[in-house]
């Protein structure tokens, strides 16, 4: 019985870590711009698709990863420069629609640039399952956990120990004040998009050996990532990770003990309940309403 429970947990952790990586991207952009970027899932898709097709074309994996990270970053920068920046002072809803438009555009571009088939990458450290107390875990899942952890540490260091990171954080707290002390708000916004696109690409690369990827893979990842980020509390990187893990584990336990047909619904019910009692998510800052 314990082995089964452990297996459910592993299953949930694997999915959860994937959702968490997607959620982190939302958190970074939200932090510096208060924008929810619904094209975040597409960054992940671009990372996975670009790497998979380049590897299939014969490029060595590390080079393919580096190139697709670069490509994804360029897409992120372009999105900020040409779509978000000109509309910076618009309503929240307006910007949401822009990012939804961007996600549709990127999906359309991906299906033309690549194709509509599913692509995969070989697992980084083989496909021999690791046995733990009667349950099994794939080595690639460990890669996903490891990368998520490393990303969290790197982000913490970046935001708390580097000048530029601190400036980005400052902008999120008070845009005007940051501007007054000479922080280039535009530069910060640009950097946040580049960073989250980069992160998305990394996520896409480590996740593809498990889930495969195709031009529409970003829809699901975007949706789950958004759920993770909101559940954890917007703008809180650690919160997004916890949120992602909770969603993943809830789904796995629900399909193990309740009903696999309703596992997604159960995850959403949990999110709704959390929001009823904690309207700013698990770790979100309490917002004060300004008149």
């Amino acid at each position: 019985m314990f082995a089964a429970f452990l297996q459910y947990l592993f299953s949930g952790l694997t999915s959860g870590a994937i959702y968490a990586l997607a959620g982190l991207g939302f958190a970074i952009i939200y932090n510096s711009s208060h924008v929810i970027n619904f094209a975040q899932g597409e960054f992940i898709m671009i990372g996975g698709m670009a790497t998979a097709t380049m590897v299939a074309a014969g490029l060595p994996l590390p080079l393919a990863i580096a190139l697709s990270m670069l490509a994804s970053m360029m897409v992120g920068v372009a999105l900020e420069k040409f779509a978000i920046e000109p509309a910076r002072n618009s309503d929240v809803v307006t910007i949401i629609i822009i990012t939804i438009g961007a996600s549709i555009f990127l999906r359309g571009a991906a299906q033309i640039l690549w194709d509509k088939e599913f692509h995969s990458l070989p697992a980084f450290s083989g496909e021999t399952p690791i046995g733990v107390f009667g349950a099994t875990l794939m080595p690639q899942s460990l890669w996903v956990f490891g990368v998520s952890g490393a990303v969290i540490v790197a982000l913490w260091w970046f935001f708390n120990r580097t000048m530029f990171g601190k400036a980005m954080l400052g902008t999120s707290h008070n845009r005007l004040a940051a501007q007054l002390v000479g922080v280039g708000v535009k530069k910060v916004l640009l950097a946040s998009f580049a960073l989250s696109a980069l992160l998305g690409a990394v996520g896409g690369v480590v996740v593809t050996p498990i889930t495969f990827t195709n031009y529409e893979a970003g829809i699901m990842l975007g949706l789950k990532g958004f759920s993770a980020a909101v559940l954890g509390g917007l703008g809180n990187g650690g919160g997004a990770i916890v949120g992602g893990l909770i969603v993943g584990i809830a789904e796995a336990l629900a399909s193990g003990y309740l009903s696999s047909a309703y596992k997604d619904a159960i995850a959403f019910i949990i999110i709704l309940f959390v929001l009823f009692f904690m309207p700013n998510g698990l770790f979100g800052k309490r917002g004060t309403d300004r008149v």
Binding site: S90, V93, I97, I100, F105, S227, L272, L275, R290
Partner: protein, 303 residues
Amino acid sequence: MLAVVITVAPLGFSNSYYYDVAVNAMFNAIVCVGLNLLIGYAGQISLGHAGFFALGAYGSALLTASWGLPPIAAMLISATVVGLLAFVVGRPILKLKGHYLAMATLGIGIIIHIVLKTEAKITGGPDGMSVDNFSLLGFTVMGDRMWYWVVGILLILTVWLALNLIDSPVGRALRAVHGSEVGAEVVGVDTSSYKVLVFVVSAVFASMVGSLFAHKNGFITPDIGSFMHSVELVVMVVLGGMASVFGALIGAVILTLLPQFLAVVEQYEAMILGAIMMGTMIFLPKGLLPSIVSAFKRREGGQ
């Protein structure tokens, strides 16, 4: 003016396909006028209205098929149930703000979608179920032309209702909620009641149109309740122009027609649609109609 457009438009329709598209556009327009009350006037986003639309559609389909109820009764019962549901979930949900509210409404929409998909014994599952014609007092609405006139009249009625609501004290309270919720509360507006009220109204609009859509289309699948459909509805409202009844209407019409035009460019359809969405919101951030109107006003002022 709307009445004139609706009356004159069919002159350009050479076959019933055009009527079909026009009816779909008007269906969307009715939903969007309702949704716009919530998004545009009360300033509350909903990413779950397709769920209410689907509940209305399935409610009608099931009540007429298995219970043999007359369509009008089925439609009203479904709308009442949806209204009650919106009322029950509305209270806790509308306390949330911004993206949290978006998440919560999205969750509700998705849960409804999952239920419709899973309970295949009742709903036919992902492959959908068929629905009979709409008839009232022995009179059956059939064919695209007849539907066109019926829905046209309903649309005019909806717009008239919405315009009246906006000019009423309720409408003024709503705008106050949008402008500043705290401010509105300070001057004694019971903001949460008004928000719930308009949430319920917009959900009922969506449900009733869902019922009619089911009868008109003759076949429904759970996809009408999908997240993508909810997003589509919000995009229609925002693209056309928030806080403008005619803006929402124009947004609905344009976004219903656009895929029909873009069908000929095949694989570039998604790219062009995405580019149009981004372009409109970047250059006309207030939406099509309000931006054009203010441009006109400015020009007149300049002369």
